[in-house]
């Protein structure tokens, strides 16, 4: 508790009615829309009386597929929030020239860019990759669930509660104004005493812990639960990238936990880890946060690179070129990714040799990355390329990514970074990768595995509209920003004194509008596909001519995934099985042992949410009670011994017979 906080209410702490931004029309409007949407959702659920269904089939579910889908839905909802922030920034920057102040005052603008970064990284990109890994990895390795199904459930709910917490700050209190990595001294109590930074810290802390839990889970799953015959060198490249990523998560996220914990202590109980006085050192935070922050970049991009390898091989109807090289490349990116973090602060006055070391290490990442690009290229060589939507994303990505690679290497040279650092060039570079590599891959993945999740394909027309809008929108929105970087514009600038820049920002705003068309097209695509789901039904379970095990089973995948655990003889197990004339077994099914649902995940996560909210507002009694309850729930959970059940033999037989019938109908 800050010693000089005045009038701390014993019940509400520092929470007063002033915390609700009645004077901000933008926020009130947003709040109204959110409440309205909430009422609609509740109304729909109530109309169909779906409460029991939601509770049994989704909220308490430990099915990796459903949890994966829920992660992706969370990410898409948060994407809308993050995009709204982006649009507001673009409008402000397009307007604030020639002495015009724009429409956002500094304290509001600073909150928006902090929110945009925080939400896009922690609540869009991370849940997207975790969701896709969750859904796909167990299917690709021939497993029936993950190693720790309960951890999977609680990990998802913690992430969701963290996302709710960070969004609540919009309407009760304020957002942090210290940038998405929240570096002190700016994020210290002395400079930003409000609740914004506290919201930010607790949201990061909770979602960070959730990510570590998820990382341990998937790591154990890939290490221990592969189907017989699937050696490491027979895993799909996406599974390999997931293995690397989860190793990175387990190794790097604890640094975030530490950095965030220490900063929380500084703000909460007056320690001096990162303060300016009493021996604190803000530089320590910068190091800690980037020791996590740079591997985080690879945590986000490696799954994307893994996905493209899947798409290229599938849609070129050809085995992936240079599988071993791909694996070596992934692992080396993973290792080198840990020794490059100083490139985020070359300009903080490290010695020339230190900077040179980290600069060269960073550039070395370009070697395995370059190899991957070549290998996709040579997979296309002598292939039969089908331009389905995921493949179009892939080709678009290859062009966008070349530019991102070029600018990334430029930034890695310390002497060039002295010019480019904190400029729009850097911003353009990481959006180039975040959009062109990560977002494209995730949108493609949704398109690719949608039939496996829901049993019908997505309508391709609107998917193609989305590809083109995102691709064109990316170039229109970000090429001017690259130029602004070379002109010497600094990031996070709210108003400009140089009028010659305005055309750039107007073009960029137009580009953002084109990207928005892409987002809308994607949403329309989902809507249209749901309407036409009968026509788009995937009967075979293998709509793309897939190569990996998930395509050997029905669409949508049954609860137990595989009626019989497959035996693997080669890379691309399903392609191999098809080539050898695999016959699907149609009898002899047995009861299948599966994990039971659990309510502990959501209950514990809600308690964590209440605890964090109470600490942020200094409501100590609420914090104490919720913490004790949380302990009680978690200890109580350990006494639940009855955690599994059997899907009875007749249910399995019925499900599989239905598939047999559908396949026979298909001819």
């Amino acid at each position: 508790m800050s010693p000089d906080t005045p009038h701390l209410d014993p019940i509400f702490g520092r929470l007063t009615l002033d915390a609700i931004p009645f004077q901000e029309p933008i926020l009130l409007g947003t709040f109204a829309v959110v409440v309205l949407l909430g009422i609609v959702v509740v109304g729909v659920v109530a109309y169909f009386n779906a409460w029991g269904y939601l509770w049994r089939e989704w909220i308490t579910s430990v099915d990796h597929k459903k949890i994966g889908i829920m992660y992706i839905i969370l990410a898409i909802v948060m994407l809308v929030r993050g995009l709204a922030d982006a649009v507001m920034m673009r409008l402000q920057q397009a307007m604030a020239f020639n002495g015009a102040d724009g429409y956002l005052p500094a304290h509001h603008y600073d909150q928006i860019f902090t929110a945009h970064g925080t939400i896009m990284i922690f609540f869009v990109a991370t849940p997207l990759i975790v969701g896709v890994m969750n859904f796909v990895v167990p299917l690709q390795i021939g497993a029936r669930d993950v190693a720790f199904p309960f951890l999977n459930n609680i990990g998802f709910w913690l992430t969701t509660m963290a996302a709710m917490l960070v969004n609540l700050s919009l309407f009760v209190g304020e957002f942090s104004q210290a940038g998405w990595v929240g570096e002190p001294p700016l994020s210290g109590l002395a400079d930003l005493p409000g609740v914004g930074v506290d919201y930010y810290l607790w949201a990061l802390q909770i979602s960070g812990v959730a990510t570590i839990i998820g990382g341990i889970n998937l790591l154990a799953t890939i290490m221990r639960m592969r189907a017989p015959g699937m050696t490491f060198m027979r895993m799909s490249i996406f599974t390999w990238s997931s293995l690397c990523v989860n190793a990175l998560i387990v190794l790097s996220f604890p640094f975030l936990t530490i950095a965030v914990s220490l900063l929380t202590l500084d703000r909460l109980i007056g320690t001096h880890f990162f303060t300016l006085d009493a021996g604190g050192n803000p530089m320590a935070y910068v190091n800690l946060v980037w020791v996590w922050g740079h591997p985080e970049v690879y945590i986000l991009v490696l799954p994307a690179l893994g996905l493209y390898s899947e798409f290229v091989a599938t849609f070129c109807s050809k085995r992936l070129f240079g599988y071993n090289s791909m694996v070596v490349a992934l692992v080396s990116i993973c290792v080198i990714g840990f020794i490059v973090w100083v490139h985020h602060f070359f300009t903080m006055g490290s010695g020339a040799s230190v900077n040179a070391f980290f600069g060269i290490a960073t550039a070395c990442v370009a070697i395995p990355t370059g190899v991957k690009v070549y290998n996709w290229l040579f997979t296309m060589y002598r292939g039969r390329i089908r331009f389905e939507v995921p493949m179009m994303w892939t080709i678009s990505f290859m062009f966008v990514f070349l530019l991102g690679g070029l600018t990334g290497v430029l930034n890695s040279i310390p002497a060039a970074d002295y010019v480019l650092h904190n400029g729009m060039m850097v911003v353009a570079h990481f959006h180039n990768v975040a959009i062109g590599a990560i977002t494209f891959a995730m949108l493609a993945a949704i398109d690719y595995w949608f039939p496996k999740a829901f049993g019908f394909r997505l309508e391709p027309f609107w998917g193609k509209v989305a590809v083109w809008s995102w691709t064109i929108g990316f170039f229109v929105a970000w090429m001017p920003i690259y130029v602004a970087g070379f002109v010497g514009v600094t990031r996070r600038t709210r108003v400009f004194d140089d009028p010659s820049l305005q055309p750039l920002y107007i073009i960029a705003a137009i580009g953002t509008a084109i990207i928005l068309v892409g987002v809308v097209a994607f949403l329309i695509q989902i809507y249209v596909s749901i309407v036409n789901r009968k026509a788009l039904r995937d009967v075979t379970g293998d709509p793309w001519g897939g190569r990996t095990l998930e395509w050997s089973i029905a669409s949508p995948a049954p609860d137990y995934n595989f009626a019989f655990t497959p035996v693997v003889h080669d890379v691309d197990a399903w392609a191999d099985m098809k080539a050898r004339g695999y016959k699907r077994p149609t009898e002899g099914f047995k009861a299948i042992h599966m994990p039971k649902n659990t309510a502990t995940g959501i209950i514990a996560s809600i308690l964590v949410f209440i605890f964090a909210f109470a600490v942020i507002w200094y409501m100590w009694w609420v914090a104490a009670i919720s913490f004790l309850l949380l302990l009680g729930v978690l200890i109580g959970h350990t006494f639940i011994y009855d955690r599994s059940f059997h899907i009875p033999e007749d249910v399995v037989t019925r499900t599989e017979n239905e598939r047999t019938r559908l396949l026979a109908q298909q001819g």
């Binding site: 400079d191 009493a278 090289s325 900077n355 370059g370 070549y374 331009f387 310390p414 060039a416």
Partner: protein
């Protein structure tokens, strides 16, 4: 600008026309070298990128599904010569670039004193750099000229073709001193001192700003850097001197108050200890609260941290 650099610039030139592309057309030797480095690295990487972009287009077109005349080898997935090329080319490019990276990290190190005024133009022996002490405050820049005994806020000047030695610190938040036309940037950070060496070669007015977000008034934290002839610089100093006013502890404490879009201030004389105290975070505070004293006590007894009020005689 060398001819081959011109070609590398062509794609950009189209977009940049009409823009004031300071970083590509600088007026200080350090910034010129940094610009050349960026162009060189870009060219080097285009060696890989252009062929890949071309081949991607070609393969995507030629091996399209309905082109049945294209060869189709679904099982072809390995070729040792290709693997050698695939690994070899990026390794060579990055190796070549690493040499440059290492060299320039040392020659263009912001801490390295200026040794040349331009290509084949070494600094004349005996030249002393102009020292400018910089304090980033919320949200304005304070420039102190210790040798001239003057100080300015949100305005700075230097004579052309004389090395400049910036010494930087900050009061509360971190900022970054960035005058793109003459050199790269270095952070100004509280409790610490950093250095930036630069030189301006052409007379002119150049934009300066903070390049690290530091809160509410950050966007307005810009200033003009005047590149003046030696003679005009002398006049400018004299002008500032006659402007009167003293930058002492009291005035500094006024500057410490947060303000946005602070107008230019000029001070004819300066408390010579002020900058040192600013680094030490104890302007207007008792000496035993200076960071250096606390740190010294920490070293001696390990009690400076817990009992900052222990007197200096301890």
């Amino acid at each position: 600008m060398k001819l081959h650099h011109f070609y590398a610039l062509l794609p950009l030139a189209a977009i940049l026309a009409g823009c004031n592309a300071v970083e590509l057309n600088p007026s200080g030797d350090v910034a010129v070298q940094e610009r050349d480095l960026i162009l060189y690295a870009t060219e080097l990487m285009l060696i890989v990128i252009l062929p890949v972009a071309f081949l991607t287009t070609l393969f995507a077109w030629h091996y399209r599904h309905d082109n049945k005349s294209a060869r189709y080898e679904p099982e072809w997935h390995h070729s040792t010569p290709l693997e050698v090329v695939v690994w070899g080319i990026p390794i060579i490019i990055i190796a070549v670039m690493s040499v440059t990276t290492w060299k320039t990290a040392h020659t263009l190190d912001p801490y390295a004193p200026i040794t040349r005024l331009g290509p084949d133009q070494p600094v004349p022996p005996g030249t002393k750099p102009l020292v400018i002490q910089v304090v980033a405050l919320d949200w304005k820049w304070l420039f102190i000229y210790p040798e001239q005994g003057i100080a300015t806020v949100n305005e700075v000047a230097a004579p052309i073709n004389q090395p400049i030695e910036f010494r930087l610190t900050a009061d509360r938040t971190q900022n970054s001193l960035n005058i793109p036309a003459i050199a790269g940037q270095v952070y100004a950070m509280p409790t610490m001192e950093t250095e930036l060496h630069a030189v301006v070669n052409k007379v002119g007015e150049y934009r300066g700003k903070s390049s690290r977000f530091s809160g509410t008034g950050f966007s307005e934290m810009h200033f003009w850097f005047h590149g003046l002839s030696t003679e005009d610089f002398g006049k400018w100093v004299a002008q500032v001197k006659t402007a009167g006013g003293t930058l002492d502890t009291a005035t500094y404490q006024q500057l410490q108050v947060q303000s946005v879009s602070e107008p230019v201030h000029r001070y004819g004389s300066v408390d010579p200890q002020l900058y040192k105290l600013a680094v030490d975070q104890c302007v207007g505070k008792p000496g035993n609260l200076c960071l250096s004293t606390i740190r010294a006590n920490d070293f001696k007894k390990g009690n400076g941290l817990c009992r900052p009020n222990v007197s200096a005689s301890n």
